[in-house]
């Protein structure tokens, strides 16, 4: 549950004293993890890996031609592996530690090599006094860092050299993902916030200024978008818009596939694509409900929203297809499901189930329109529709979250730690904040990705030769074939 009410803290702090005091009974004792939370977070991490390999690998792999199947699997698999390694070396630290001067944009290196972390270390959740083992938190966030760049490779499918992927992925994670994750999700945590608010409220008149300064320091110890007050429950912005716009840049800079628009390029195995889509759905429960960081009612809310929005979006896409083209297709259903999953991601812990239903329907229809009409009109070759599904779906979700989080629409509103209760909801302000964060991500990731693709092109080139592309990346890049029936 990510939220951003810190800037309103000072105003509310007086009234909040009592509530805060009740909520923090025993300040002296370090909290220990509840094993139910730990069990759920371990499970959630495993589920997110399942989403990526085999989930995403198959979803993507099924959509390419046989001769590139293996390269698709390899690109996703490689991405997961390299990210796991750099995550423990410096990624976690860049994303989730205090970053000093650049703290608004990126973390520091104090936790590089996971320095100082033991099985007894804990990480705070979104409830004051509730913690989970830090290793569990690192694992969970690692899987997010792994799937995000893996999403990108779908845009350049069937034509980007493996060596270019090998170079691009760690660069992108370093310069785009870790900063964006820090900007949107990093904050000082509930306990520091509640503490500072309490001190301020109970400060003697002559200590007010000092307490206020401490409060401000805590509020400022957060990523840029978090300070703005952006909310992104499970990564609509950080994961989907971020990867979607990067993929779009990749598709433009790498160029179209040989034969694009002239030769038929049907998916070689929609069976694999369906398996992948289903595993994405199953794993996404870890992604969304796990983002509660607790085995709580909020996690259950995220889960039901993930069921409902996905189903609604799949049905919406199929129905739209039925009207537009005469037949509902499995690929449509699977694509709709993913669009729904993407859109509900930022909203999953904030919207109510009926809100999720509406969100799913909108995402299903809009993404279907993007991936057929708009894409065909514009003529770019985003091979697996990373832009149309993840970027567009992510934007719908990010903005939609600002709307549907409203308690008036069945949402949960945003919790105000200083008041110890849900704050009044200002929908217009929140939607504007959401839009600002969307723009920040589009610009940072769009520009950053374009630069990185250009660098990689200069260093090793992006594409194989035409003959090699015709032969297929499986043989050319990896010397093996996906199938020898």
């Amino acid at each position: 549950m990510k939220h951003g009410l810190l800037r309103r803290l000072a105003a509310l702090v007086g009234a909040a004293t009592l509530a805060a005091l009740i909520a923090t009974p025993a300040l002296a004792v370090a909290p220990t993890p509840n094993k139910g939370d730990t069990a759920w977070m371990l499970t959630a991490s495993a589920l997110v890996l399942l989403m990526t390999v085999p989930g995403l690998a198959l979803f993507y792999g099924g959509l390419v031609r046989t001769k590139n199947m293996l390269s698709m699997l390899m690109q996703v698999f490689f991405t997961v592996c390299i990210i796991c390694v750099i995550w423990v070396i410096y990624g976690y630290s860049l994303a989730f530690s205090e970053g000093g001067t650049f703290n608004s944009f990126v973390g520091g290196l104090s936790k590089a090599f996971l320095a100082g972390i033991t099985p007894d270390s804990t990480a705070e959740t979104f409830s004051d006094g509730v913690v989970i083992p830090e290793y569990a938190y690192i694992c969970f966030q690692m899987t997010f860092a792994a799937i995000t760049p893996a999403l990108i490779v779908g845009s350049m499918a069937e034509r980007m050299k493996f060596s270019a992927i090998v170079l691009f992925i760690p660069l992108w994670a370093t310069f785009v993902y870790f900063p964006i994750a820090h900007m949107v999700w990093y904050w000082a945590g509930p306990s520091a916030t509640v503490q500072a608010a309490k001190s301020l409220a109970s400060a003697a008149p002559d200590a007010k200024a000092a307490a206020q300064a401490a409060m401000d320091a805590v509020s400022a110890n957060a990523g840029l978008a978090f300070q703005w007050g952006a909310i992104d429950f499970a990564g609509g912005t950080v994961v989907h818009i971020n990867s979607g716009i990067a993929g779009f840049m990749g598709a433009l800079l790498v160029g179209k596939r040989v034969g694009f628009g002239r030769e038929a390029m049907p998916p070689h195995s929609l069976t694999m694509t369906l398996i992948g889509a289903a595993l994405l759905w199953v794993g996404w429960f870890g992604f969304n409900a796990g983002s509660a960081l607790e085995a709580s009612g909020t996690a259950a809310l995220a889960m039901i929203n993930t069921f409902v929005a996905t189903a609604a979006a799949a049905l919406a896409w199929m129905l739209a297809e039925k009207f537009a083209k005469g037949k509902p297709s499995l690929l449509g259903g699977a694509s709709g499901a993913v669009a729904g999953l993407v859109a509900v991601t930022p909203a999953s812990g904030y919207a109510g189930p009926m809100g999720a239903l509406v969100l799913g329907i909108v995402a299903g229809v809009a993404c279907m329109f993007m991936c057929s009409a708009v894409k065909n009109a514009m003529g770019y070759d985003d091979a697996l529709d990373v832009f149309g599904v993840h970027c567009i779906g992510g934007i719908i979700g990010a903005i939609g979250t600002g709307i549907l989080a409203s308690p008036a629409l069945g949402g949960t509103g945003i919790f105000d730690y200083s008041a110890g209760k849900v704050a009044d909801y200002d929908m217009v302000a929140q939607v504007i904040t959401q839009a600002k964060t969307v723009c920040l991500t589009l610009v940072w990731s769009g520009v950053g990705s374009a630069i990185l693709f250009t660098v990689v092109k200069a260093l090793v080139g992006l594409r194989p030769g035409t003959d090699q592309e015709r032969e297929g990346l499986d043989l050319v890049d990896h010397g093996e074939r996906a199938y020898n029936y």
Binding site: A264, P266, P267, K325, K327, S329, L331, G332, S372, K375
Partner: protein
């Protein structure tokens, strides 16, 4: 000896096979092929992309027969493979100079 090549609808294979064996023709070789002809194909749609698929699945049956059995064979195939609908297929007859059975080295009519 002649090679009789029949291109038929896949689900007729079993009937054609038994029609030929009824004639005493004990061997044949079958290949999965794609046919293009008057029978129209279909359109496949994958997200934004539509493909007109004009090649349809067919079965090619090849059977080498003594010259005097050609007529019978052709008739049997027609009878078994016909549905009366477009796309039923073709039969071609072409010359074969020699035939050899690998196992025994027998040649020509005793080889088939």
């Amino acid at each position: 000896m002649k090679l009789v090549t029949a291109i038929i609808k896949p689900f007729k294979l079993e009937e054609v096979r038994s029609a030929l064996t009824d004639l005493g023709l004990q061997g044949m070789t079958v290949t999965e092929v794609k046919g293009y002809g008057r029978q129209r194909g279909h359109t496949e749609i994958y997200r934004g992309a539509e493909y007109v698929v004009s090649f349809l699945p067919k079965m090619k049956i090849e059977v080498v027969v003594p010259a005097n059995s050609v007529e019978k064979a052709v008739e049997a195939i027609i009878r078994a493979a016909r549905t009366g609908q477009i796309g039923d297929g073709k039969i071609f007859v072409s010359p074969v100079d020699h035939a050899v059975r690998v196992r025994t080295g027998e040649t020509d009519e005793s080889a088939i």
